[in-house]
């Protein structure tokens, strides 16, 4: 996805808006990859060493950001975008979506892998654990979110970014694909609220 011709930004005369939003130079923001690499190394060390603090830190920070960003995007950014003009919406998406493409899978990995390890250490995986049902509910919530994020949202996100790189992007197609964000925001939001309820219940009982 980085096999993209680097296009120099056209010179814009002072006070004049560009004819149309500039497409992203690369679909994956390459400058973020070292940070992702550092996170992956941190996770490997934490899991290999069964480093409880690091596992807890990663799970809590990753989960909080994942939930917070999902809710913020779904219920704050999404409706604002819906009221923007089409060119403004497209320009915002062209800059916002590549970041999400790198950020969200990193946060999901930061949350899930140490979360499983923590649950094992704390005995939550045992069927005898009194709140085992709550944990299973959290698996189901993650499964629903993964299906929506990976099967519905991410393909649309990528397709929009590639469409924006065309000399003449298809506005009808972009609008159609971006409708998916509107349709799924409610489900994702409900799942994230369920996650908050489950995790705070488990942490306090």
């Amino acid at each position: 996805m980085t096999e993209v011709v680097q296009r120099p930004a056209p010179a814009i005369p002072h006070g004049q808006a560009p004819a149309r939003p500039l497409p992203p130079a690369t679909i994956v923001p390459l400058q973020g990859l070292p940070i992702v690499g550092a996170v992956v190394i941190f996770l490997v060390v934490a899991i290999a060493g069964n480093w409880l603090w690091a596992l807890g830190f990663s799970h809590v920070v990753g989960g909080a950001l994942w939930t917070g960003i999902d809710l913020f995007v779904g219920f704050v950014v999404g409706p604002i975008m819906g009221r923007m003009s089409i060119p403004a919406r497209v320009e915002f998406s062209a800059r916002f979506m590549p970041v999400m493409l790198l950020l969200m899978p990193t946060l999901v990995t930061m949350t899930l892998a140490p979360g499983w390890q923590l649950a094992r250490h704390l005995g939550y995986l045992d069927a005898g654990y009194p709140h085992h049902g709550w944990l299973v509910a959290s698996y189901i919530v993650v499964g629903v979110m993964a299906t929506i994020a990976i099967g519905v949202l991410e393909p649309a996100n990528l397709a929009v970014l590639f469409e924006l790189r065309k000399p003449q992007p298809n506005g009808e197609l972009i609008a159609k694909l971006m409708q998916r964000f509107v349709y799924t925001a409610g489900i994702t939001g409900a799942m994230q609220v369920a996650t908050l309820i489950i995790m705070t219940y488990i942490a306090t009982h």
Binding site: V40, A127, G143, A159
Partner: protein, 130 residues
């Protein structure tokens, strides 16, 4: 005008859902030496659906294969890292070999499903010479 194509992404998505359901079932019972019949059956159906989707996409005429493989390569790399991390946790936890094999098979199908969904979803809207 948006071109109509066979439901490749939908078929791969159904395969992915089956893998997720099987993995949730196994994860929920992992401490009890669970029966592997349900997750293995779900994995087998998921593999069949993935094969169907792969065959169907390979038979599409005038398709943007170059961009399909560019996206597929990067998606495969990204999701291999994620799946590898999860696999690492299972191995680190000394998950019994039968359960580990089932979970690994599910992860492999999951990664291939995601790769196919992402690559097809991008390439379908691109001109065939792209």
């Amino acid at each position: 005008m948006i071109r109509k194509l066979p439901p490749v992404a939908e078929t791969a998505l159904a395969s992915m859902v089956l893998v997720i359901v099987g993995t949730i079932y196994l994860a929920a019972n992992i401490a009890n030496d669970p029966s592997l019949v349900v997750p293995v059956a779900l994995d087998v159906v998921a593999v069949l659906l993935l094969l169907v989707a792969t065959v169907v996409v390979s038979r599409i005429d005038d398709f943007a294969w170059r961009i399909f493989f560019v996206v597929a390569r990067w998606a495969l790399l990204g999701y291999l890292v994620i799946a590898g991390m999860i696999e690492f946790v299972f191995i680190r936890d000394n998950t019994p070999s039968a359960q580990l094999a089932t979970l690994t098979a599910g992860l492999v199908v999951f990664v291939l499903d995601v790769t196919l969904i992402l690559a097809f979803s991008v390439a379908r809207y691109q001109p065939s010479d792209y």
